[in-house]
Symmetry: C2
Subunit: 335 residues, 2 copies
């Protein structure tokens, strides 16, 4: 198995070999030269992806169970589905991740579903690159509907949500008032709100809070994403009990409606193009960051670092001096 | 007032002019050339700062009220205190921020306390730079104990916590089980755990959960930060009712104990040196990012971008081509 090269693994994955698909995703996740070769193989015009759905929200909101239900809906509609579960890798979360995956077991024998966890810790900037590449890989090997599930509500999650065409934000009754949702930055990224665990008290209040927030600024979501967007989409607020499946079909319907609208207005294509250009910029920054590491081996870097540590030069001034030494300010392509 | 230059503003701030201090912090927050000039003025060997305390945790955990209590303790101990409240700027959170600040009103007439909100949204990488600079500015103008309060539990907050000598993680009873705390990455950054709102049910269980997590790996916190760290500090788990002040003095005692240990073992100096070098690297990456923007104006960038959008070249390969065109791979200082 060890001798199969990327091309062979890719061909096998396209033929339905899930082990090959898993190995390719591991390569993408680890980054480096192998990741680059796999990404280049999987790169294709965006037509290889039908829909990318982001599912995000606070820990414990039931995102995995909801994702499970959405996968079932997608299968019923005839789509092959890839799931990327972005998990923080921590010595203690192993059990929880296992738990999430166990819940997904109902799809384990379905060749039309591919579920994969990706770690977040230790990747930082790298993750934002790996997720779009993993999405494209899944599309290229035939899982053209991709669900990206993220744990947490921080900037990393907001960045990952940026890789989705449609983002579902999951909250729970009593999870917090509307101000908390707003504080966490959820309002800006939500295309669909789901109040899960709707069998608990407080669901009506939470739905009302979210609707009030949307009343205050119905353009919030789409304006944040694209000030030039056509007629706004008001994120629907839906109540679900994901464990019993209650309300999940309605969520799927709204996802389809949102996707249809994106495609019809040309916004889907615009978003995808913008994301690709963002990705190019991030990749370029990553490339430059590697150059910084090389710089760090030079004498000039050590001298500047000593000046900073001695309190003679602040870090920003030190960085400017190093950039000037590297000749960055003086040259560039196309000039 | 408009004509006062940075030096004059700085001198006035050192003399206790809080308006001048506020204007300098605004400059630091906005970034750019002014920020750089202020940062250079405020940069000094780390002796100008006594202690940097981070207070972080989930939204609604009562961080502002606890911070308020810790400020009172610090004042009782004779320290001048600066508070940086890192708030997500959202059209809807204005009220909440106001509410937080109103709670802090008891210090409003105390010239030994300076409280300042900083926005997170729209800064991304920039924030991580602005916070250390703002901390140094506060130290340089005489607020040598600085409390950095962050809303949320995402990567941005973890990064900001990296600017603190000692980090307090605030949770509430029933906020979530130990796995959730771990998922949110709190275990790795906590030097002191506070279970706030201890008048609510479930406080004992939450304390037990946290202690169990720490039992599982008592080295977790210090090892994550520095594998070569001397004898580990086990983060104490303290219960508080910040609104009544119950338990806050004990938190302050533990903060002092942790700080004393850091100073005694030389770890304080090591951490601060490491942070300065991290800052230098981030500043260099920021510098390079600006170069990327310049590159983006060139013909080569447009050609590469077109290839990416046409599906001929993946973003990573495009970035490598641009970096090669910029001559980055061939040159560097000190070689």
């Amino acid at each position: 198995v060890r001798t199969r090269d990327h091309r062979r693994l890719f061909a096998d994955a396209v033929d339905g070999d899930r082990g090959a698909a898993g190995r390719l995703l591991s390569m993408v996740e680890r980054g480096g030269e192998n990741a680059q070769q796999v990404a280049a193989l999987a790169f294709a015009p965006s037509e290889s992806i039908d829909a990318v759905i982001g599912v995000t929200g606070a820990p414990g909101a039931g995102k995995s169970t909801l994702t499970d239900g959405l996968v079932a809906e997608a299968r019923r509609a005839g789509h092959r589905v890839g799931v990327l579960a972005i998990d923080p890798s921590s010595p203690y979360s192993g059990g929880a991740i296992l738990g999430d995956r166990v819940r997904m077991q109902r799809h384990a024998d379905d060749p039309g579903v591919f579920i994969r966890s990706m770690a977040t810790r230790g990747h930082h900037g790298g993750l934002a690159l790996a997720v779009p590449e993993a999405i494209r890989l899944l599309g290229a090997i035939g899982y053209r509907t991709v669900v990206v599930e993220t744990v947490g509500v921080g900037q990393v999650e907001v960045d990952i949500a940026g890789a989705a065409d449609t983002t579902v934000v999951v909250v729970t009754p009593g999870w917090g008032d509307s101000v908390q949702a707003s504080k966490a930055g959820l309002l800006e990224i939500a295309d669909v709100f789901v109040v899960n665990k709707a069998d608990r008290p407080g669901v009506d209040q939470t739905v009302r809070d979210l609707e009030t927030m949307l009343d205050l600024d119905p353009l919030a979501a789409s304006v944040e994403r694209d000030p030039a967007a056509p007629a706004a989409w008001r994120p629907p607020v839906l109540a679900t009990v994901a464990t019993t499946g209650e309300g999940v079909a309605q969520v799927w319907e709204q996802l389809c409606a949102h996707h249809e609208r994106l495609a019809r207005t040309g916004e889907l294509e615009r978003r995808r193009r913008r994301r690709l250009l963002d990705e190019l910029e991030r990749a370029l920054v990553g490339q430059l960051r590697r150059e910084v590491r090389l710089l760090a081996d030079g004498d000039a870097y050590r001298e500047v670092a000593d000046s900073v540590l001695a309190g003679r030069l602040d870090p920003q001034a030190g960085a400017e001096r190093l950039a000037a030494l590297a000749g960055l300010a003086e040259r560039g392509p196309g000039r």
